[in-house]
């Protein structure tokens, strides 16, 4: 039990250290245009890599994920709100699941 508690403590510490160090102590403005550009593109790059290929494996069955991904992509392309896109994707997954269960 002690082993697990110390283990969790170490895990927590090494999850927190990289998060708080720059945010708390780096108070200057980054001047380098290259670094500024890098930081500008960072969230887009992060979101792209976070979405794919994860979106294909987001649900237990590939067909559910594909249905959800297609519908969500369509509404995202139409500039719908975050919540709308997220919920429409969930509904599409669930409907795809119901249809496939019915067919089988």
């Amino acid at each position: 039990m002690i082993y697990y508690l110390i283990g969790v403590l170490i895990m927590a510490a090494f999850s927190y250290i990289p998060r708080f160090l720059p945010l708390t102590f780096y108070r200057k403005k980054i001047e380098s245009p290259y670094l500024q550009s890098l930081l500008y593109y960072l969230p887009y790059a992060a979101l792209g890599a976070l979405t794919f290929p994860g979106i294909f494996h987001a649900t237990p069955h590939l067909y559910e994920s594909l249905a959800g991904a297609t519908v969500a992509f369509y509404f995202a392309f139409r500039n719908k709100s975050l919540i709308f896109v997220a919920v429409s994707g969930m509904i599409a997954c669930y409907v795809a699941y119901l249809i496939m269960t019915y067919i089988h």
């Binding site: 895990m11 999850s15 979101l47 792209g48 969500a72």
Partner: protein
């Protein structure tokens, strides 16, 4: 000015996406006979997915504390970059205590949402943005531990897509507006798929694959299409 309520709303899809993941984390821990409550404790103190799964794996094989620390540090190295990026976007007047508090729930998702805001990030907004994901993450594990099978698998499955739906809503419109952003997004998607599916790269951990794809594509974008002041 960005308010608590604005942040809270944007946290909803994140929390929805987190819940089933941390739920399965809770189930996983209990099914491996870890002490009851440990999964919830881990989720509330770590607030990160890949790091937690890796850490528990290591503890199950009775690894040394040093191995746990080193693995977690490598998996979580990306947060250093995200935290640095956020340090440029938060209000200058934010106090040290406030900075320490919001650092606790810097995740891939909260970072991405926060850094796409055009106004300076206030403490209220960050606190709002992080409230529901933090609760969703911690309570998801608690439910997973206690009930194991609270939600039907079909509903759990459908919830998994919410997070990705939100991501699409965040990257598709700006990619339509800016060719540069679109190229960076496509590059990062291609790289991450490549690292994920080509067996040659199986030796890389998931966190390492993610940070490699992100860094290379953002670096290429910055090299090819430098941004002027005030980005």
């Amino acid at each position: 000015m960005l308010t608590y309520k604005t942040g809270l709303k944007k946290g909803i899809p994140i929390a929805l996406g987190y819940f089933p993941v941390s739920f399965s984390f809770g189930v996983l821990c209990v099914s491996h006979q870890l002490p009851l409550g440990l999964a919830t404790l881990i989720s509330f103190t770590n607030v990160t997915s890949s790091g937690q799964f890796a850490g528990v794996n290591l503890m199950l094989s009775q690894s040394t504390y040093f191995e746990i620390a080193l693995t977690l540090l490598m998996i979580n190295a990306r947060y250093f970059l995200m935290s640095l990026s956020l340090s440029q976007k938060i209000e200058e007047k934010m106090t040290t205590l406030q900075r320490l508090l919001i650092s606790f729930v810097v995740t891939d998702e909260t970072f991405a949402i926060a850094s796409l805001e055009s106004q300076p990030l206030t403490f209220s907004y960050m606190a709002g943005l992080m409230t529901l994901p933090f609760l969703g993450w911690g309570l998801g594990s608690l439910c997973g531990e206690l009930i194991m099978d609270l939600l039907p698998a079909s509903v759990q499955g459908a919830m998994g897509i919410a997070l990705y739906g939100m991501f699409l809503a965040l990257i598709v419109p700006p990619s339509r507006k800016s060719k540069e952003v679109a190229i960076v997004v496509v590059l990062s998607v291609a790289l991450h798929c490549l690292l994920h599916y080509v067996p040659l790269f199986a030796f890389m951990g998931d966190g390492f694959k993610l940070i490699t794809s992100i860094l290379i594509s953002a670096a290429v974008g910055a090299k090819l299409y430098p941004k002027e002041e005030n980005v």
